[in-house]
């Protein structure tokens, strides 16, 4: 799972819909891998508007990266160094193994071989 996807997934349990703890999920015991990809400045800029910045900072810190500015940079003060850092974090950082926990219902989702599973046991399925 690429880091950027962590900004777009939430707990799949119906009763967690819209609750504060269901997004972002709490990432634990993660094994990361960097997969080099071509830097596309325009794409990273186009993505900025779509990101939930506080969730991004939180998950980055759970994965050991505390270098992300706490506030979303505006287009005026963005520079190439920051864009390259974001590219590396968002698109090149792969979570190969790990857990994602919902802070609302405490359900644990697993990432195995790079793919996150959100399938629920029958008693929790919608």
């Amino acid at each position: 799972m690429k880091f950027i996807t962590s900004n777009f997934v939430r707990c799949a349990v119906k009763s967690c819909d819209g609750t504060e703890g269901s997004f972002p999920l709490n990432f634990q015991d993660c094994k990361l891998q960097l997969e080099e990809q071509e830097f596309n400045e325009e794409f990273i800029i186009s993505m900025l508007e779509r990101l939930d910045w506080s969730a991004l900072v939180k998950v980055a810190s759970q994965l050991g990266n505390n270098a992300i500015p706490p506030q979303k940079p505006s287009l005026d003060d963005i520079n190439e160094v920051l864009l390259k850092d974001l590219h590396s974090l968002l698109l090149e950082t792969q979570i190969i193994e790990g857990k994602m926990i919902c802070d609302n219902c405490q359900h644990v989702y697993y990432i195995k071989d790079g793919i996150a599973s959100f399938l629920l046991p029958p008693h929790l399925a919608k």
Binding site: F8, V9, R10, A12, E42, F43, I45, I115, A125
Partner: protein, 226 residues
């Protein structure tokens, strides 16, 4: 004519094999691409999130990414079948330099943040059946039920599609569009009328229709206007 991605090493006992319904999606996207439909809609510079539900072999998502049909897109795919997800990622990586794709094992869009998806694609299990097999244990990857689950849709073949239609308003961003395939036995004109009377913030129209042997297939666009 745009090239069709190559799917290598497809295990047809475990993953749905591309068929007329899959190719109808490809033809529709090629037609929309020629009309510059997506570039005209996306004159601003924001990224688009594309979600394909039930990506199977990965042919559709790979096709639109390979030919850059939707500008500035990040492609998510979901499937309940882990073998399908791995096949999708392989198909994607084998055919395109584009790397903006990620796979989630998930029912429909249950784990996707609400109101974020700009384009949703769904080639559902639409074949009418008396019942739908229950989902096997997640680790039981050689169970043949996985491929049946990609095909059969219960009463009128609409059981799974109806679940998605009921949550469409929560999944799509404003101005987001869902492309969903139906066969004639799904009674899609009635389905669409019912949907439109319930969700007045949507515009719905048929984009492409085709007779394929004994099957008649159609893809509708559901656009969330507000």
């Amino acid at each position: 004519m745009l090239s069709t991605p190559i799917v290598k090493d497809l295990d047809i006992d475990k993953v749905y094999e591309p068929a007329e319904d899959t190719f109808l999606f490809l033809d529709m996207f090629e037609q929309l691409h020629e009309e510059q439909y997506f570039t005209n809609l996306n004159s601003n510079s924001t990224a688009n999130f594309v979600l394909e539900i039930g990506s199977g072999s990965g042919l559709i998502t790979t096709f639109i990414a390979e030919h850059n049909i939707i500008p500035r897109s990040y492609n998510l795919v979901s499937d309940i079948n882990i073998v399908a997800l791995r096949t999708t990622l392989n198909t994607f990586n084998d055919n395109t330099e584009n790397t903006n794709c990620d796979a989630l094992r998930c029912n429909l869009a249950d784990s996707i943040r609400l109101n974020q998806i700009n384009y949703l694609l769904f080639n559902p299990p639409y074949v009418p059946s008396e019942e739908i097999p229950s989902i096997p244990d997640a680790d039981d990857i050689s169970n043949t039920a996985w491929v049946d689950l990609a095909l059969v849709g219960g009463n009128d073949g609409m059981l799974i599609t109806n679940n998605l239609l009921n949550s469409l308003n929560n999944i799509l961003a404003i101005n987001g569009e869902a492309y969903i395939l139906f066969c004639a036995r799904n009674k899609h004109p009635q389905v669409v009328e019912k949907f439109k009377s319930k969700w007045t913030n949507f515009q719905v129209n048929c984009v492409i229709q085709r007779k394929c042997g004994w099957e008649e297939l159609a893809i509708y666009r559901f656009k969330k206007m507000s």
